[in-house]
């Protein structure tokens, strides 16, 4: 086809094109926002495992997600260290239920604690090395800069300089610095402590035992050159049945699957995205079918000239595909704007990366092609005899 007929048809009436692009573009924006919301919720829940310096992660057999707080015996860490192919295994502690932050004697709110031995390189948070010495002192912690403002520290204020009187579970707490992690479904804020301080604030964590004797996660690093999956299988064989070994990715996938399957979140946003898709199909159908109706005489003429149905099918699909590209770009731009606004306004993690944009583009193309197929009957029915 030398003349780009689909292109000319689409761009001939500028005004209609603008309305069409707005219609399909907003369907694109809708799908982007729903996907963005869904990802915002999932991205925040996997931040902790994402940041762990782990090839493999040990967790309790009963562990389902980071909210389940199922723990295992520290002995498993020692046992795992003896496994061939393992370079290092570090205990990682989390605690949320029953941890209360109290600032200035009045603001009280639950907060999540992350703890480990400061000499263990378990998590990729650069501030830990900077403040390591200060964190060794009794009763000290780092505060997550992205904690919600309800901890009595105004956004932007330096909590170390301000140093409000803070108690954690009725014991004085001194902030020595900040780090950056982010909030999720469960916790509105985070603190990082040395394992010794963690034990001091939570003496009853393991009733009757050392508070550090039960571990939330085991951070396993594999020796150079060892195969991660082989080491995983070896660890699984070596360790008793009360713990499970996951690759880091498998652990993250499990966390997402937990939120997706056993909470309403995944379903709700999937449905929102589906509606966006259907809206797009309808809008796109209207545009293509209106365009076809307007040009029935031309089509009939072309048919009379001997063009085959195949040519028209190709034409309609081309027009649909062009429409999807043209409306995807402004839709993407508007969505980027919305993502930025939302991220600023709410502190949510709105990440728009290439695979996500590509996914929405595939949906947009599918949406327009669906409408194209629906509208095609009209061209095929155009009869040269109707012309005159």
């Amino acid at each position: 086809m030398r003349t780009p007929l689909a292109w000319h048809n689409l761009t001939h009436n500028r005004r209609r094109l603008a309305v069409a692009l707005a219609g399909v573009g907003f369907a694109v924006v809708l799908m982007f926002t729903e996907l963005g919301f869904r990802n915002a919720l999932f991205d925040t829940t996997i931040q902790i495992p994402e940041k762990l310096n782990a090839d493999l992660i040990l967790a309790s057999k009963a562990h389902k997600g980071l909210v389940s707080f199922e723990r295992f015996d520290r002995q498993r860490i020692y046992q795992a260290r003896g496994c061939p192919g393992v370079k290092a295994v570090y205990p990682f502690y989390l605690h949320f239920y029953g941890v209360f932050w109290k600032a200035r004697g009045e603001v009280i709110h639950p907060i999540r604690l992350l703890a480990f031995s400061l000499s263990d390189p378990v998590i990729a948070i650069p501030e830990i090395a900077v403040f390591a010495r200060a964190l060794e002192e009794p009763g000290t912690a780092l505060l997550d800069r992205r904690s919600k403002p309800l901890y009595g520290i105004p956004r932007g204020a330096d909590p170390v300089a301000a140093q409000p009187a803070i108690e954690l579970n009725h014991r004085a707490l001194r902030l020595v610095g900040e780090f950056e992690l982010g909030t999720d479904f469960l916790a509105d804020g985070n603190l990082i402590l040395s394992d010794r301080n963690f034990a001091r604030f939570l003496p009853g964590r393991a009733p009757g035992k050392d508070p550090l004797s039960v571990v939330d996660l085991g951070v396993v690093q594999v020796a150079d050159g060892a195969d991660v999956e082989e080491v995983r299988d070896a660890l699984a064989r070596l360790l008793p049945d009360d713990v499970r070994v996951y690759t880091k990715q498998a652990f993250i996938d499990r966390e997402i699957a937990f939120w997706n399957n056993s909470t309403p979140i995944g379903y709700v946003f999937f449905l929102g995205m589906m509606i966006g898709f259907l809206v797009g199909v309808v809008v796109c159908y209207q545009i293509i079918s209106a365009d076809i109706s307007d040009h029935v005489p031309e089509f009939a003429t072309l048919k009379a000239m001997g063009y085959r149905n195949r040519y028209f099918m190709g034409f309609v699909l081309q027009e649909a595909f062009l429409l999807s590209i043209l409306s995807f770009l402004p839709g993407l731009l508007v969505s980027l704007g919305i993502y930025t606004l939302l991220a600023k306004g709410t502190g949510l993690l709105m990440v728009l990366n290439a695979p996500r944009a590509a996914f929405i583009f595939v949906l947009t193309a599918a949406m327009c092609l669906c409408s194209g197929v629906l509208a095609m009957r009209k061209v095929l029915a155009a009869d040269p005899a109707d012309l005159f």
Binding site: V67, Y97, I275, V279, V283, Q286
Partner: protein, 387 residues
């Protein structure tokens, strides 16, 4: 207007009209769905409070959502009970505990510890069943709790689970009854124990501390005035560990927490905003393409001497018809989706009369405004352009 031109216009191009109606319908569904989701966040805020019997609630200061309430000294209840207008006050213990079924399923569950003899619940079924809690290891479970808590039939707790043992924070408990409350974003399962039973599974719970104080008033007492008095008394005693709310205030506070502080509510609120914008754009697109399609006919009518006013009425009538035609199936489809969502997620979405009226009004407004905008095109239609 003797000939119902608007109707003929729509009835003549069936396929096109169906597409336009479908457009309006999906816009309606989109808005209903987002409102419904946002409604679940609001429901999360009020569900447990609405089941509790109180006029004034005392809870620890600044605990965000209900499940984050922390223990405060029970002496505050005694102080409240001595205030004029107060009929009585009872405490509720509340915490997330680790549920483990005999088959090994584990999941955190929201547990309430109550005095079975006190008026605790306004939910009649719950209040009646409290007398089943005759031993510390006995508990009642919400039938609406998610299937992950492992009921015998794999779907919902019921009579077949009576007598079944389970563990709460690694202590043996026994199901002796069930009730219907519902799941929320805060808690997807709930159990009720006696206070004695609650303390048995939570040995570290501070003695003489409760999580919520349910204050009941004497008939005729004004909740606002009494809560003001309680606040004054607590301030006098420098009791900064608690907040005092009337029933409306605490639900309003919790609604604020869920809609504006928790990510999930913020997202649903923004979902509603996006749905409104997208819905309007789609309806405009539908009506404006409809007017464009009929432009030659309209121009002809104009040439025949019909006024702009007549044509405007035709377009507006068409807009209203499209709005109504799109709304009806949209409402039906939304109801189906509400039911599907409730079934899939156990979060009931209620199609309230207010919501139906609101969306109907909104779709009429969207259609009429879009029609008016599309009319500008018609004003410019010149009979001379026709040929």
């Amino acid at each position: 207007m003797k000939t119902p031109l608007a109707w003929y216009n729509l009835a003549h191009h069936k396929v096109r009209t169906v597409a336009a109606v479908a457009g309006v319908m999906f816009a309606v569904v989109l808005i209903f769905l987002q409102l419904g989701f946002r409604g679940t966040a609001e429901r999360t805020a009020s569900l447990v409070y609405e089941a509790l019997e109180f006029d004034i609630l005392i809870r620890s200061r600044n605990s965000g959502r209900l499940s984050q309430s922390r223990p405060f000294p029970r002496v505050r209840l005694d102080q409240a009970a001595s205030a004029p207008g107060v009929a009585g006050a009872s405490g509720v213990l509340l915490n997330y505990l680790r549920w483990q079924s005999t088959r090994g399923a584990t999941r955190p569950i929201l547990a309430l510890g109550v005095f079975p003899d006190a008026p605790v619940f306004s939910n009649a079924e719950l209040q009646t069943k409290l007398r089943l809690l005759t031993a510390p290891e006995f508990l009642l479970i919400d039938r609406a709790s998610r299937a992950e808590f492992d009921p015998a039939n794999g779907a919902e707790f019921g009579d077949q689970d009576l007598g079944t043992e389970a563990e709460l924070d690694r202590r043996r408990v026994r199901i002796v009854g069930h009730f219907q409350l519902g799941t929320t974003f805060d808690a997807d399962g709930m159990v009720v124990l006696s206070q004695e039973g609650f303390r048995r599974v939570q040995p570290a719970w501070p003695s003489k501390h409760v999580s919520l104080g349910l204050v009941r008033l004497e008939p005729g007492a004004d909740p606002a005035a009494v809560s003001e008095e309680l606040r004054r008394r607590f301030a006098e005693q420098q009791a900064v560990d608690v907040d005092v709310f009337t029933r409306d205030q605490v639900i309003e506070h919790e609604r604020w927490v869920w809609l504006w502080q928790q990510s999930i509510g913020l997202i649903f609120t923004m979902g509603v905003a996006v749905a409104l914008v997208v819905g309007s754009v789609i309806v405009y697109q539908v009506l404006s393409s409809d007017v464009t399609n009929h432009l030659p006919e309209y121009a002809t009518l104009k040439a025949m001497g019909y006024s702009d006013g007549f044509l405007s009425r035709v377009v507006l009538a068409q807009a209203v018809i499209l709005a109504l035609l799109g709304f009806a199936p949209g409402l039906a489809l939304s109801q189906a989706l509400y039911a599907l969502t409730a079934w899939k997620t156990r979060l009931p979405l209620d199609m309230t009369a207010g919501r139906v009226a609101g969306v109907l009004g909104l779709s009429l407004v969207m259609c009429v405004v879009s029609g008016l905008l599309a009319l500008r095109k018609l004003r410019g239609a010149d009979p001379a352009d026709l040929y």
